[in-house]
């Protein structure tokens, strides 16, 4: 087990290094730099600026300089937000993004699993149809459409919740709902089909014929197996929610790091592009690792560390 963990850790570092290197190369290949602006700067000023951010050096030198700092966990200064470092941007912005993401995941899991289970148990009846409609709507209505609708009705017309900004828990309710809609729909659909599949298995019939109570059959035998596909998608889904919430953060004016993910590319803010990409990649890699762990815990047939792993 320890050996396996060690191997996984090395693999994670290698993946991160590869991502960092590719991002660095791609970033420099894109035309324009942080100082390309509508108003041209005098050449000397430009020279001073480029020197201040080490952009006057050759690409290999810049790369080595960046990697050296990265090892020390120093992600450098933001070029656009001159008073802040990338470490500050991440440490100040991530709590809001994380809170929003975690709330959305919890909401989508609780509701999605419940709806999925109910739909499967009441197949082709009203609860099933209701859950299916919710799932279809959730998948087909994008969050950037859902968000203004929520703002208009819950915020402006019925005055139940604040329209935007980030001052307390009640400010997080609407963005959480908007962000949770898609994963909720995905979890519902996945849970429903997975439940139906498990329910049709022989061992469930055997359990029932042995005279186990329906609730015991569901709780003990069905749920545990049916939840596996949901766990499988939780890794990328969690990372996706946390990294993909920039539209929601923008609409609800949430001080997260989502917007930097997009804006840093537009601004060619090199250290921010690198820093946030590496941070998110590390996060995604970690999530996948955790999911693998949870997976083997739920289903002991899947053993971590076995090469065949199937």
């Amino acid at each position: 087990m320890l050996r396996y963990l060690g191997q996984r850790f090395v693999m994670m570092l290698v993946s991160l290094w590869l991502i960092a290197t590719f991002t660095f190369m791609m970033m420099l290949a894109v035309p324009g730099d942080p100082f390309t602006g509508e108003k041209k700067l005098p050449p000397e000023t430009l020279k001073n600026l480029r020197a201040a951010y080490h952009l006057d050096k050759s690409y290999p030198e810049q790369y080595l300089y960046y990697m050296k700092n990265l090892v020390m966990l120093d992600l450098g200064p933001s070029i656009k937000y001159t008073t802040r470092t990338v470490n500050q941007i991440i440490s100040e912005g991530f709590p809001a993004s994380a809170q929003l993401g975690v709330q959305a995941i919890i909401l989508s899991l609780i509701l999605g699993l419940t709806l999925g289970v109910i739909a499967a148990l009441r197949q082709n009846r009203i609860p099933d149809y209701t859950a299916t409609v919710i799932a279809v709507l959730g998948v087909s209505v994008p969050s950037f459409v859902m968000a203004p609708i929520l703002q208009k009705y819950l915020g402006l017309e019925w005055e139940l919740l604040p329209i935007a900004t980030w001052e307390g828990f009640e400010y997080s309710i609407m963005p959480t709902i908007a962000l949770a809609v898609l994963p909720l729909a995905m979890v519902t659909r996945l849970m429903r089909s997975s439940m139906l599949e498990v329910l049709s298995q022989d061992y469930i019939r055997t359990a029932r014929s042995k005279g186990l109570s329906p609730s015991r059959v569901i709780m003990r035998h069905t749920l545990r197996n049916a939840i596996l596909p949901v766990v499988t998608i939780m890794g990328p889904l969690t990372a996706g929610i946390l990294t993909g919430s920039f539209v929601i953060e923008k609409i609800f004016s949430i001080p997260g790091i989502g917007k930097y993910f997009v804006d840093s590319v537009t601004n060619r803010d090199y250290p921010v592009i690198m820093g946030i990409t590496i941070f998110y990649s590390a996060f995604l890699i970690l999530m996948n690792f955790l999911v693998d762990m949870i997976y083997s815990w739920i289903d002991p047939r899947i053993k971590v560390g076995h090469k065949e792993a199937s």
Binding site: V30, E44, T45, Y81, R84, I163, I251, G256, K259
Partner: protein, 540 residues
């Protein structure tokens, strides 16, 4: 008995009417008890609040409230006393002595001439890599120092004593005094900045000399300013607090304004602007800025002036502002937009010359010019022409409209090329285009900021236009403080642009905004920016 009732009723009625009228009058103008203004203005974090680093509009807005320069500007853009009470211009406009008032920094230190000298040299110090260093290139040896070719002590700014600042310029620059109202030329507290170079990055360490203090700066969330009791004109500042939440989305900002959580909304959604203007729920500011198309004068067919002129003449600017934009913009009449003064005639520049560009297209004349131009250039047919613009719905719509106009009025097929912002800028700089869009916001309120763009080799001269006669006129205008001579030279230069058409102006910008009726005293500067220093709230 009846008579008594009638008389009493009548008296009561009259009294109540008088009272109601009085209440109504007082009610609309009485100062509100709570003087807290919530402004929807900031779409994202201000990048920097130290004048050394702040270059954008948002940073400028906050700095203009927490700091103050030597002068401020009145509604027409003329300098009025700020930190300086008066100034003497000497030596044919090359030397200016500023006399400072008794003013204090928010930490109690006196504001001194040394603070200005320190900050200006700090701006120019090449080590500090300040983007706006060039705003001080007017100073003697300013540019040389920034290039490492002169020493700090050679720069033409010197504190003669704590209350007197001597400024020596490279050449007479009449707009330099107004330029000191620009945030890049604001002072910083020398003692504070020397002790803690990062003083400007946190509300706790921020020291200002403006009407407000930086109370809160929570990154990506909000800025809160409170009244500065030490400000020299504090008695006339009525707001106790201004809140600037950062709202990243126009629709959200609009909804917050409608719901009452904002008193002002500056980022009105484009699709709502025309409707709100019509319903008188929004107002419009004329910004002294210009939207134009650039012809690449180094590439065929636009190396020919007649062809350029033909394409310019085939644009129906009136249709663009009415049908495509609809936010109160006007068709451009020349190369200097509305709102820029002609200092010799004390009028707006656009009023002191004939319209060089007609709002409507002139297809007959345009076609004739195109044929003449093609003959001159020896072209039997035009090469493929493409309009390059950066990703933005507005630019796309304008490009599509002009594409149709050129097809209809000239019979020319035009392609559209849409590029991401920085890729677009890169191509523009490299000259990889035939026709491209651009907008220009003035650096200072003088026609020169629009006219010296087109001198040979100018950094922003993407048209690669070159005309020695034009260059000479701009040089002449830059070498004198005589406003009459300057304005005349610049008028002549603009006439040359009207003849050569290296770029073709399309329209003059506007800004649509919403402000609640109970907010009074908001000042809109000549350059279209907002100042809330003397704003106040009346009873709702």
């Amino acid at each position: 008995m009846k008579k008594w009732v009638a008389t009493t009723t009548a008296i009561l009625m009259v009294l109540s009417m008088v009272l109601l009228a009085a209440c109504g009058k007082d009610g609309s103008n009485a100062m509100a008890e709570k003087q807290v203004l919530n402004v929807g203005f900031i779409s994202s974090e201000p990048p920097a609040l130290d004048p050394l680093k702040g270059t954008d509009e948002i940073s400028s807005l906050i700095m203009r409230h927490v700091l103050e320069g030597l002068v401020r500007l009145d509604e027409k853009g003329n300098p009025i006393p700020g930190m300086a009470t008066k100034w003497d211009v000497m030596d044919g406009g090359k030397k200016i002595i500023f006399h400072l008032r008794d003013a204090k920094w928010s930490n109690g230190d006196p504001v001194t001439a040394q603070d200005f000298e320190y900050q200006w040299k700090r701006m120019l110090d090449p080590k500090n890599a300040s983007e706006y260093a060039y705003q001080l290139f007017y100073l003697k040896n300013g540019e040389a120092y920034n290039q490492g070719k002169a020493k700090a002590e050679d720069v033409g700014v010197k504190a003669l004593d704590p209350k007197t600042l001597e400024v020596t310029l490279e050449s007479p620059t009449p707009y330099f005094i107004s330029l000191t109202a620009f945030h890049a030329l604001f002072p910083v507290n020398k003692k504070v900045a020397e002790k803690n170079p990062k003083w400007g990055t946190d509300a706790k360490t921020y020291v200002g000399n403006g009407p407000f203090l930086l109370k809160t700066w929570i990154h990506d969330k909000k800025i809160e300013l409170v009244k500065n009791p030490k400000y020299w004109d504090a008695k006339n500042v009525k707001l106790t607090q201004i809140n600037f939440p950062f709202i990243g989305d126009e629709q959200t900002e609009y909804q917050m304004y409608v719901s009452g959580s904002l008193d002002m909304n500056r980022n009105v959604p484009t699709d709502l602007a025309a409707k709100l203007l019509q319903e008188k729920k929004a107002k419009v500011i004329h910004q002294p800025s210009l939207y134009f198309y650039i012809f690449n004068t180094k590439k065929k067919p636009f190396d020919n002036a007649k062809i350029r002129k033909a394409f310019s003449m085939a644009i129906d600017r009136e249709a663009i502002v009415k049908n495509v934009l609809g936010q109160g913009q006007t068709p451009a009449t020349g190369w200097v937009p509305w709102g820029i003064p002609d200092f010799a005639q004390n009028k707006e520049w656009v009023q002191t010359h004939p319209s060089y560009i007609q709002p409507k297209a002139n297809p007959a004349e345009a076609k004739k010019l195109l044929q003449e131009g093609m003959k001159e250039a020896g072209l039997s047919q035009l090469p493929e022409i493409s309009i390059m613009y950066n990703t933005h719905e507005g630019h796309k719509k304008i490009a599509e409209a002009i594409q149709q106009m050129w097809k209809k009025n000239l019979g020319v097929d035009v392609k559209l090329t849409n590029l991401e912002w920085k890729v677009f800028l890169d191509n523009q700089t490299q000259g990889n285009f035939l026709v491209s869009r651009l907008g220009w916001i003035p650096d200072y309120m003088d026609p020169m900021t629009f006219l010296d763009l087109w001198v040979t080799g100018g950094g922003n001269n993407h048209a690669k236009y070159s005309n020695p006669q034009y260059d000479a006129l701009i040089k002449q205008a830059k070498s004198t403080a005589d406003q009459k001579v300057r304005m005349e030279a610049m008028h002549k230069a603009e006439e040359i642009l009207a003849r050569d058409v290296p770029v073709t102006p399309i329209y003059n910008y506007t800004q649509v905004y919403q402000l609640k009726d109970y907010v009074k005293g908001v000042k809109i500067e000549a350059d279209g920016s907002f100042t809330f220093t003397y704003a106040y709230l009346t009873e709702k």
